[in-house]
Symmetry: C2
Subunit: 499 residues, 2 copies
């Protein structure tokens, strides 16, 4: 599928003469690998969200920080936009290139610089894969906690840019909670350090601000992450329910019982059947919903927690609660969950993966709301998600070849996100805003709040050269989208011209 | 003691006519309590850092958010600086008033609006005391984790402004890690929401940016904090050492052994003797250093951890390891630690409490460095601190009545903080920068980084009306202080005039 987007924001920049830019880059940065022919550029036209495609003007693949510095200085002087890209696994089009800009691929910065067990940190280059950090830390009994499903491939620089999450975020936090320090290059090529090796850093918390800023505030050149001790053991419970609402309520009750599971995932019947057909995980295909609840820690603790969670699940109306008998069965239970997206993908020519977050207590109502919207739009929706932290991933099934289905799928997705916002939630949990959800940002924030975002952006990048057109919509775009909040009865229009 | 500071930054604003301002406030905000007579203003001339004193021009004590809104709009129009204050317990002069500004006291906003056990959060007004949140959550088996020593008195709004810490931050994080959402008023009196009730909020992470921003970005009007389940039990170990370096090394080894204690505190001989004289906690007065290590969680877990930590302590050379026999002894062990500051205060007419943070592995070296500096400056230093997270609180003992001692104490304090920065640490752990450590910020950050801080400040408050002269030094000040970083061989002077 192919969703067009508004290029106007980029249009504010002068047109770039590709041949002249290429010539200048070659002259000033003789060692730098540059791709410029259509067949070489093609692999970079999208990230993990393949719905959005744009051919980049040029792709550069630096190997030394000095090259990135020089490139940024040159682009700043010539007012050429720069989009940074890690492994390109992002799901919101955050690394989508620009026709009039340079795609800066950071994948070759793939060195682990230090693993320090006493300080419990690892210092790595931005192109290091998420899983490679845990592998390097394993000999010390340590690991890096945030684990997006793409962790085999995705890079830590991209994780920082999108504030990536994963199955274990409920207990161990998002990327932002597991960072100590990042080294960045500003849009002008200045080296800046955000955060410190110590507990806290004075002044404003620019490290947290930077995390999840989607390449709009600077380019990550080095990341220092916290490492955690590997839990002694982990057990997983599989609970079946005869209604999704009951399963949704059980999630809140587990947390209210004082347990913080290592992972707490939910799948509905459509997802269960798809996963079971694909993986043969041993899931109960008659259940309307299942919960997978992993308890990790020291042995006695895990044992106590398992008993406590089992009682809560039974009281919440679970029709069956099974504990994985051994590591092999535990691995199978998780394999079903981790392959649920491709499994659902087999049910339908196309699917659209949403990412919204809601307060846990709203789960039963929002699940009901999604079912009603699904019926209204005549499209099936499978639910597979991080229930414990309220991070929903409804998968909308459709066939792009049937006239009107793509538009219906998009409209349904938008409605689901608005439902999330309406109950006090947010339009993203871990995939970011990128290009995909920029319109929904207009529903999430009012004009004053968006104005503040633009002002913060301007503090780092007044010329708006870094990843323009992502993450933060212009007020103009919001006015056209028609979802602009009107705040305190004041109309936002006087400010329209400002950004 | 009385330390003068540079008022120049405030001088950039027009002089305020006190009588005219008072008349206008009375006319436009008839119900607002305003203090203007010297005897009424006197109690507000300093916060918990009594070294710095300035008489505010006016003190206002609003009771409704609408009053704060109207006040901010009026001050914005007239370009009158506003300093917000909670309970006034801050230790870095962050709430120090201005002679040419309004002190906005938020103490009357003291309502707990909601305690939600299922969502595990509490929604409170900014003047609510830290401990009152845990008391309100106690019936549900929950509590609010960050626990500064002033928790009986300090307010949550002030905790947000200073990103307050406490004994339990090693395991449970600083204020920023325990926030879901804040409602703020901008300098123009606009209502803004930072964060959300859900796991994550899209766009830039302004909630984290705001936490610790010391009243420079906006005024907190409502705070939603996370609540945690109370640990089932807690045990405390007291280990004695014949050298501070050995104790410092043991700290790193406990963490490297895979244990995260609920609290891990260190005291040196001077502090031990002072506390024992004052509290009779049962401390070993011959020891050169003690560690207090609290393990909390479920029973079996705590038992295992105690055994593991005991072995680590013994291998690290502890001369004795005692476990508190019962709750009474545990309370006594902690009473000694919690009263260590006033206990040390009895040893000397004056003391100066520092707050620096270093990477844990640097503890032995920095403790040795402090001892050398103490000898060099001829002033005794007692060390009482959050060892587990590397947050040091050296207490410099001096007598302000002896000529030159105050200056020597200040100089020694500055040296200690520079030592912290030199080993990769920071000039504050939990007390903030405020007025006190503004010069050390010049050592911590380079000109590009400080310029970025000012640009971020300008995004929120371009007229610099909110708490001017705190937290972020002007480049001019840094140049005069002589500690300016020279970055990449470029001199910062061309930028001097910008801020």
């Amino acid at each position: 599928m192919n969703i067009l987007y508004d290029e106007r924001v980029d249009g504010a920049l002068p047109r770039v003469d590709k041949a002249a830019l290429l010539a200048e880059l070659r002259e000033r940065l003789p060692g730098l690998d540059i791709l410029h022919r259509e067949e070489d550029l093609k692999p970079y036209e999208c990230d993990g969200l393949s719905a959005y495609r744009t051919m980049p003007m040029l792709v550069v693949l630096p190997e030394r920080i000095e090259q990135v510095e020089a490139l940024l200085r040159l682009c700043h002087r010539r007012r050429v936009p720069v989009v940074a890209r890690g492994a390109g696994t992002g799901l919101s089009g955050g690394a989508l290139p620009l026709e009039q800009g340079i795609l800066l691929v950071m994948a070759r910065f793939d060195k682990i610089l230090e693993v320090n067990p006493e300080g419990r940190f690892a210092r790595v280059q931005p192109g290091v894969r998420n899983l490679a950090i845990s592998q390097a830390a394993a000999p010390f009994g340590l690991y890096y906690a945030p684990d997006p499903s793409s962790q085999i491939a995705c890079s830590i620089g991209g994780n920082v840019a999108e504030n990536a999450g994963g199955v274990h975020c409920l207990k161990y936090g998002l990327t932002v909670h597991n960072l100590l320090k990042v080294e960045i290059l500003s849009v002008e090529g200045e080296r800046l350090t955000l955060g410190s090796d110590a507990l806290d850093s004075p002044g404003f918390d620019l490290l947290a601000l930077f995390s999840g800023s989607e390449g709009m505030l600077g380019i990550v050149t080095e990341v220092t992450v916290k490492l955690l001790p590997r839990p002694q053991m982990a057990k997983v419970l599989l609970a079946s329910f005869d209604s999704v609402e009951k399963a949704g309520r059980a999630v809140g009750e587990i947390i209210a019982a004082g347990v913080i599971p290592g992972g707490l995932e939910m799948m509905d019947n459509l997802a269960i059947r798809a996963a079971e057909d694909f993986i043969h995980a041993g899931y109960p295909v008659e259940a309307e919903a299942i919960l997978l609840c992993e308890l990790d820690g020291v042995e006695a603790d895990v044992h106590d927690d398992c008993e406590r969670v089992r009682r809560v699940l039974e009281q919440a109306g679970a029709t069956e609660v099974r504990q994985a008998r051994d590591e092999a069965e535990r691995a199978k239970f998780w394999a079903g969950r981790k392959n649920a997206f491709p499994a659902v993908g087999r049910l339908s020519p196309d699917y659209y993966c949403m990412d919204g977050t809601i307060p846990r207590r709203e789960l039963p109502g929002v699940l009901r709301g999604i079912a009603e919207l699904s019926a209204e739009y005549g499209l099936r929706v499978a639910n597979v998600f991080h229930a414990g932290d309220g991070n929903m991933h409804p998968l909308i099934l459709f066939d792009a070849n049937r006239p009107g289905e793509l538009e219906r799928a998009e409209a349904l997705g938008g409605k689901i996100l608005e439902l999330c916002v309406a109950v006090g939630g947010s339009i993203t949990g871990e995939h970011g805003v990128g290009r995909e959800k920029i319109n929904q940002m207009c529903a999430q924030f009012n004009a004053d709040e968006l104005t503040l975002f633009h002002a913060v952006k301007a503090a780092f990048d007044p010329g708006r050269l870094l990843n323009p057109g992502k993450n933060i919509p212009t007020l103009h775009r919001c006015a056209e989208f028609g979802a602009m909040h009107v705040h305190h009865g004041r109309l936002p229009f006087p400010e329209l011209e400002r950004f």
